[in-house]
C-alpha cells in the first residue's frame, strides 16, 4: 500500500538578523491512510514547525514531502480554537467552505449534520463566548472537518484545557476522527494522550531534531483513549517513551 504522506530527510533552518538556528535536522517518516500518528518530543524541538511545513504555512529548507495525490486537503487544528467571536457557531463552521468558495446546499447540510451528530445541534446559532472551552474546541474540530480534509493535523489541540475536559475531549475527537475515517497526525507533549490515542508514535530528539524512535502501539484490548489508559500495556509504553524523552530538570 502506498503511504498517504511520505516525508524524506526534512530539514528546516530559521533565520533572523543575528542567528541561524536549525529547528529540524533530519526527519523521515511515512503515514498510511486512516492511520493515527502521534509525534512527541521535548518542547522547542520543532513539532509545530513540522506541522506548519506540512500545511504549507512554512517552507522546508531541504528534503521532500510527498502526498499520495496532488491537491490533498489538509485540516489544521491549533491549541487555541480561534473561533471568530462575531460569527455564530454555524457560521464559524462555514468559514473554510466560504474561503474555498465551496459553500452550497450540500456542504451546508454536511456541516449541520456534523454539528448535530456531535452534540452541538442546540448551539448552532449561539456565539462562541457562550460555550465552554471543551465545546469550543469541538466546534473547532468540526470547522476543520467541514472542508472534508484528507489529513488532519492537530497541534497540541487539547493543551489549553483542564485535565478532565482534556480526557473527555480527546476521547470524543478520537471517535470522530475514526468514524469519519480520517488520517491524523497529532503533535503533543502529553505522553498519555499520545499513547492512548495513536496507532503509532514518533519520538523526536531535542533540537535540532531527528527521529529518535518509533513505536507501534499495540494493546490486547485496544478501544477508545480513556479505556486504553487502563490497559496494562499503557504504562509499559509510558515508561519506555519517557526514558527516550530523557527529561532533565
Amino acid at each position: 500500500m502506498k503511504p498517504i504522506l511520505s516525508i524524506q530527510h526534512l530539514k528546516k533552518n530559521y533565520h533572523d538578523k543575528n542567528d541561524e538556528i536549525t529547528a529540524i535536522e533530519d526527519i523521515t517518516f511515512e503515514v498510511n491512510d486512516k492511520e493515527f500518528v502521534a509525534i512527541v518530543g521535548p518542547s522547542g524541538c520543532g513539532k509545530s514547525t513540522l506541522l506548519s511545513i506540512l500545511t504549507g504555512l512554512d517552507k522546508e529548507s531541504s528534503g521532500t514531502i510527498q502526498f499520495e495525490k496532488e491537491n490533498l486537503k489538509i485540516g489544521y487544528m491549533l491549541q487555541k480554537d480561534s473561533l471568530f467571536p462575531w460569527r455564530t457557531i454555524l457560521e464559524n463552521c462555514y468559514l473554510g467552505l466560504e474561503i474555498n468558495h465551496n459553500l452550497n446546499d450540500e456542504t451546508k447540510e454536511r456541516v449541520l449534520n456534523l454539528l448535530k451528530t456531535y452534540g452541538l445541534g442546540d448551539f448552532i446559532n449561539k456565539y462562541p463566548n457562550s460555550l465552554s472551552g471543551g465545546m469550543r474546541q469541538r466546534v473547532a474540530l468540526i470547522r476543520t472537518l467541514a472542508t472534508d480534509p484528507d489529513i488532519l493535523l492537530l497541534d497540541e489541540a487539547f493543551s489549553a484545557l483542564d485535565y478532565q475536559t482534556r480526557l473527555a475531549l480527546s476521547d470524543d475527537v478520537y471517535r470522530i476522527i475514526k468514524k469519519e475515517g480520517k488520517t491524523a497526525i497529532m503533535v503533543t507533549h502529553d505522553l498519555g494522550e499520545a499513547i492512548s490515542m495513536a496507532d503509532r508514535i514518533i519520538v523526536l530528539s531535542k533540537r535540532p531534531s531527528k527521529v529518535k524512535k518509533e513505536y507501534i502501539i499495540e494493546m490486547k484490548d485496544k478501544k477508545n483513549p480513556i479505556h486504553n489508559r487502563k490497559c496494562p500495556e499503557f504504562s509499559i509504553y509510558y515508561d519506555e517513551i519517557w526514558r527516550d524523552l530523557d527529561v532533565h530538570l
Binding site: 506548519s52 480561534s82 474555498n100
Partner: protein
C-alpha cells in the same frame, strides 16, 4: 420582572437608587455652581465685566438668537467638524488598509507618521493660511492635520494587533490576502474602528476651533476670538458654554450610534 427572586429585586432596587443619587448629585453641583456664580455677580463680589454671570450668558444667548446669529455660528462649526470627521475617517481607513496590505509601506512611513503625530499642529497654522488661504478650506485642512494622522495610526494599530493564530487558521484554508482582510481584519476591528472615530470627532472639533480662532468670519471659534478682541467677555463665555454643549451632544450622538449598531 416578577419572576426575579426577592434578593435579586432588592439588588436591582439598590442599583437604581444609586444611579438616581449620582444623577441628583451631578445636578446639584451644576445648580450650586450657577447659583454661587450669580450671587457673587449680583452682590458685585466679582466684576461682571471680566467674569460675566449666568444671567448675562442667558441674555447674550437670547440676543444671538434674536439676531439670527446663534444657529448660523453653531451650524458652521458643526458642519466643518463633520466634514473633517468624515474626510479623516475615510483617509484613516484607506491609509491604514494600505499600510496593512503592504508592510513595506508601513516600515517606510513609520518615522514620518510618528513625527507628524507628535508635532503640535498649531505650529503649522500660519503656514496653512499662507498656502491654502484664509477660508474654510484652511480650517478643514487644519482639522484634518490634527484628526487624520491619529485616525490612521489608531486604525492601523488595531489591524496589526489581530491574533496571529487567526491568520494562521485562514491561511490553512488557503485564504487570499483580500479574504483575510474582509473576513478577519475588518470585522475583528469593529470596536477599535469605532473608538478611533470617537477620538477622530473630538480631534476634528479641536482642529476646527483652532482654525476658526486663526482665520474665519463665522463659527463658535470666531465668536470667541471676536468677543475677546472687542472685550465682550459675555460673548466669549457664552460661546464657550455653547461649544461645551455642542461637543457633548456630538459625543452623545456617536455613543448612541455605537449602541444602535451593535
Amino acid at each position: 420582572m416578577s419572576t426575579y427572586s426577592e434578593e435579586h429585586q432588592h439588588f436591582l432596587k439598590k442599583l437604581k437608587r444609586r444611579k438616581r443619587s449620582v444623577v441628583l448629585t451631578q445636578i446639584l453641583i451644576i445648580v450650586l455652581f450657577l447659583v454661587i456664580w450669580q450671587l457673587l455677580a449680583s452682590f458685585k463680589l466679582i466684576n461682571t465685566f471680566t467674569f460675566s454671570s449666568p444671567w448675562d450668558v442667558i441674555k447674550t444667548t437670547i440676543h444671538l438668537f434674536e439676531t439670527n446669529q446663534l444657529w448660523n455660528h453653531i451650524g458652521i462649526t458643526v458642519y466643518e467638524t463633520l466634514l473633517s470627521f468624515l474626510i479623516a475617517g475615510i483617509i484613516g481607513l484607506v491609509f491604514a488598509t494600505l499600510l496593512w496590505w503592504f508592510p513595506f509601506l508601513a516600515d517606510v512611513f513609520d518615522p514620518y507618521l510618528t513625527v507628524l503625530n507628535s508635532l503640535p499642529k498649531v505650529a503649522l497654522g500660519p503656514l496653512i493660511i499662507i498656502w491654502v488661504g484664509a477660508s474654510m478650506h484652511s480650517i478643514i485642512f487644519m482639522a484634518l492635520m490634527i484628526s487624520a494622522i491619529i485616525t490612521i495610526i489608531n486604525i492601523y494599530n488595531g489591524f496589526v494587533s489581530i491574533d496571529k493564530d487567526y491568520i494562521k487558521l485562514l491561511k490553512s484554508f488557503h485564504a487570499s490576502k483580500k479574504q483575510i482582510f474582509f473576513e478577519l481584519i475588518l470585522p475583528g476591528n469593529r470596536g477599535n474602528i469605532i473608538n478611533a472615530l470617537k477620538i477622530n470627532i473630538s480631534m476634528s472639533l479641536i482642529g476646527v476651533i483652532m482654525g476658526e480662532l486663526l482665520v474665519s468670519k463665522e463659527g463658535l471659534g470666531y465668536l470667541i476670538m471676536y468677543g475677546s478682541q472687542v472685550f465682550n467677555i459675555n460673548l466669549v463665555i457664552t460661546s464657550v458654554v455653547i461649544l461645551g454643549i455642542v461637543s457633548y451632544l456630538m459625543y452623545y450622538v456617536i455613543n448612541w450610534i455605537e449602541k444602535k449598531s451593535s
